[in-house]
Symmetry: C2
Subunit: 267 residues, 2 copies
Amino acid sequence: MATRSSGLSGLEGGRQVGRLAPVRRASTVDLIAERLREAVVDGSLPPGTVLGEAELAYQLGVSRGPLREAMQRLTAEGLLVIPRRRGLAVRTMTADDVRDVHWLRAQIEPELGRRILTLPAPERRTVLAELGAEVKRMQRALKKDDARALGDAYLDFHRVLAVWGGSMRLARMLGTLLIETRLCTFSMFEHFEVHRDLVPEHVAFVEALAADDGERFAALVRVHLEAEVRRLLAEPEGPGKGEADRLLAETPDEPQPLDRLDLPEGL
Amino acid sequence: MATRSSGLSGLEGGRQVGRLAPVRRASTVDLIAERLREAVVDGSLPPGTVLGEAELAYQLGVSRGPLREAMQRLTAEGLLVIPRRRGLAVRTMTADDVRDVHWLRAQIEPELGRRILTLPAPERRTVLAELGAEVKRMQRALKKDDARALGDAYLDFHRVLAVWGGSMRLARMLGTLLIETRLCTFSMFEHFEVHRDLVPEHVAFVEALAADDGERFAALVRVHLEAEVRRLLAEPEGPGKGEADRLLAETPDEPQPLDRLDLPEGL
DNA sequence: TATTGTAAGTTTGTCGACAATCTGATTATC
DNA sequence: GATAATCAGATTGTCGACAAACTTACAATA
């Protein structure tokens, strides 16, 4: 039939001869796993949900075999638990989990920021543009009081950090951590909340990166994550709050309003 | 038959009434996954090995169903790859993987050291004892020129760090990273090598922790991991080598020979 | 009345089988 | 002689089925 990907003989003429990205077909297990992740993230499978394999397999239009394989993968990611003889259950995050997830993110994300700042200028500009686009999404969502959209843009903002951070493994880990973050929200609250502080905080993130100030970015991220833990655990504003206000009030080294980042409107 | 675990009614009299640890039975999938991990770590399944499902299932004494589920879990951990219609293959680490794994460890392990130093004194002493025991294992292995035993003790040393580091997630991640480290060795060399620098380096790790010097521990770990990358990639000794020698020669703040840590001989 | 023993029903865990797909080699053709 | 087409073999991906195990409800007993 078609020539194999290794050859491409006789097709010289276009550019990038011989360097096609290998075609990657997703297996059924991949598809099921991805669908389950989506369901966990968008809340259609809240934490604690217990599901029977047969019923779920029927809904997904597959048989129990591939579904069970996908379950194992989600279990390894920490999103599902498989109680013996009880099907599967969406993991419920405890207070300890909330602290652990956010502490871990506080270790990872500042480092990602530092790595992004070492990127060559054109790529760095791309990252800033993507981050700016997500911030704009957050702003639009906030204007509409759409907590769901705000949360989604939040996740995507941090996913951008993960993707550009440079480490395959770290990107995967942070990707899972972000889903777990969403699980934390669902585990602690009944419904989404519109969280107004989120937007200025993320504007400050982008500004710090645009100003090439990795340490300020790191500090802002840490403060944000500590605040998130307090909010999720409904703890009174601790000593960190004053620190947050100070950092946000402080003029960054090189003031640069978000408009000057000329974000691509299309995204 | 037996009373359910939630009740335990009528058995007051012993101590710790009503607080038994839940019994944890491993599922078949758990068993298979663990067996496969062992095989990867001990080298009976070298990187690049391709296996047929039927043959492997027969060897393990299970049917293909549970085996395929375990495969998915190992895939999520990054130890296996599943080429389409080609069974399973043990992941082969590239030079980029070597750098990535060690870079990531360099981010994680110093932090674990810091956390261990914040532990209450009795637990901290336990950690130091366990670490010291692993170092002794390393010394014995080196004396016998047993590269395999040396490598195993090395892994267990760092596993101790992971377990006591305080974060469930981080422990799991580092556990996987350590297996990947072993895969790096197998991917780069044909056989184990006796690596003499390993023991003094780890003695220094323990000494730094015993001296309550988290920053020195962090620096030593980073230097060690950078050296490992160079060794694995067979690069000439870079600018970091001088730094390593300087750190190892330098007298720690509070000199404390390993003997004074009174290690439990039993381990 | 509280607790234990019993039994039915449901769901999982595991296995065997079938078909689609891919690989590798062989043959035919330019 | 090299390339393309064909074909047989083997293996995976998926499904259906069976038996074991667990849960829940109910009844019996102290």
